[in-house]
């Protein structure tokens, strides 16, 4: 159930995102199309993490792994001359979903610090795997030969077409996420997050629901990875580095866990601040750090979570 003020902010937010390209064109600042597209791609990644973290209570500290797998799926297929986007993106989603299935099947049996460490360890393994793949550039990475081709339906080389495709996907996943967390499936993982012994006592076996949530989130983040490869036209193991996982997690926390739209806000604010502050000084992280600390201290439910609406607490 959405409170009115949140609905309004979401509608205004999506509308504002839709107006970025014409505004950038009017201001003769095409760079902003690129920046906001990047924000939305990370918003999709953060949104997928929110399903696991905010609704499922699983502190996955290796979410960038799926971003990397998605990007590499596109990059490797392109490397061998497969430019078809339908194929590339399906492969990106499938590969990251399979990885999430394996990682989840092992990690979801644990909880707390063990869960964090296992997800982190898997992501770092994949990071080092990426470094060792000399064929695909090793630690330098490699350029994407060409952006994904969609049989003439949409041309990603057109920055506006690419932009609106990303926006449409983001909105689609917001809608899907909203349906999912309020449907029976979402109620189970939220109940398990709230009180797992109680959930078991009334007859739920949370494991398989949490695992499916983990796989869905992995697949969605894989799609974000496919978009990111097209965005940067370059892929590197850095996509999978643990600091990247931390960044995605921070977007979720900054915007508000368990809100779906909060992570979108978090991605825009975090990447926006990075952009603005790094233009001011090369020591921009000195300013960003305290700001993030203040948000976490004084807005425990995140920026979007400050708005009235459904409260999701821990325990």
């Amino acid at each position: 159930m959405l409170h009115r003020s949140r609905t309004i902010v979401m509608a205004v937010g999506v509308l504002a995102l839709a107006l970025v390209p014409p505004a950038a064109a009017a201001l003769n600042q095409p760079f902003y199309v690129d920046l906001f597209r990047r924000m939305m791609i990370f918003a999709l990644a953060a949104l997928s993490l929110d399903l696991v973290l905010g609704y499922g209570g699983m502190v996955s500290f290796g979410h960038a792994a799926y971003l990397g797998i998605g990007a590499y799926a596109v990059g490797i297929l392109a490397f061998y001359g497969v430019d078809n986007g339908f194929l590339q993106w399906s492969a990106a989603i499938a590969a990251s979903a399979v990885a999430a299935l394996v990682i989840g099947a092992i990690s979801i049996r644990t909880s707390g610090v063990s869960f964090i460490m296992i997800t982190l360890a898997f992501a770092q393994m994949l990071y080092y795997l990426g470094i060792s793949l000399e064929t695909y550039g090793g630690d330098n990475g490699m350029p994407l030969r060409t952006r994904s081709q969609f049989a003439g339906l949409i041309d990603l080389r057109n920055p506006y077409a690419f932009y609106y495709l990303v926006l449409a996907l983001l909105v689609l996943f917001l809608v899907l996420g909203h349906r999912l967390v309020n449907a029976r499936f979402g109620m189970v993982i939220r109940a398990a997050k709230s009180n797992e012994p109680r959930a078991r006592a009334i007859g739920f076996s949370p494991f398989r629901y949490k695992l499916v949530a983990f796989v869905l989130a992995g697949g969605a983040c894989g799609l974000a990875g496919a978009l990111l490869a097209n965005q940067t036209e370059y892929l590197t193991p850095e996509f999978m580095h643990w600091t990247r996982s931390g960044e995605i997690m921070f977007m979720v926390i900054l915007g508000g866990m368990g809100t779906l739209f909060g992570p979108v806000v978090g991605a825009i604010v975090l990447l926006g601040l990075e952009d603005v502050l790094s233009a001011l000084t090369e020591h921009w992280q000195i300013i960003l750090g305290p700001f993030l600390v203040l948000v976490v201290l004084f807005a425990k439910r995140g920026l979007f979570g400050l708005l009235p609406g459904e409260v999701l607490r821990d325990g």
Binding site: V188, S194, S205
Partner: protein
Amino acid sequence: MAEPLIVIRGLSKSFGGLRATDRVDLDVPEGETHAVIGPNGAGKTTLIGQLAGDLRPDAGMTRFAGQDVTALDAPTRSRLGLARSFQITSIFRDFTAVDNVALAVQAHSGHSFRFWRPARAERALRDPALAVLDSVGLGDRADVLAANLAHGEQRQLEIAMALATRPRLLLLDEPVAGMGLEESQRMVRLLGGLKGRVTIVLVEHDMDAVFTLADRISVMVYGRIIATGTPEEVRGNAEVRRAYLGEEATL
């Protein structure tokens, strides 16, 4: 005669050197309200945990409704008709009262791999949940966040969640603990109203509640059941009196 609903034989569980339950035998026929009493640390909560499926026994077996359930976990036992309340109130604090009960209904209405329809709009979940809430006296508190309910109401909510699973056996771990006189009387009335309709095994320190509700009583001391009988038999049992001498409870 039909087999009792619950048949326990030789159930044992040790934690380190401590024998929390020690070769426990217990039969509870269908429809009975059976109280388990005993001093603190006697193993009563461990017994409930083993019955509910949260604790695996080291030895022994449990049959429920003619089926060996010894190896089954808590969710599976719940689906077979075993419901419980916890010693320390255990509810979904960040959901409303009716959400809590609707979740219990949902857990017993097929799988939950349904991704589209809002669960809160499903009358098949909502209506039974509201009916059960009404039956425990929380009908007008349906939309209150569970965390904001009074302690007694939260205990009632736990009973409602248990009842929403349409159990054959209700396991209650100190249902009136920490309650004021009025609250505990309300709870005893509520449980009394269930008598006969559902089999109840309850652990309780409040002897007024025990002697009001129980058809039979088992006395547990140091992990063993030292006596089982009607309230009168237990009251007159010399061994039971010895075990309770100097304890907080007076029979």
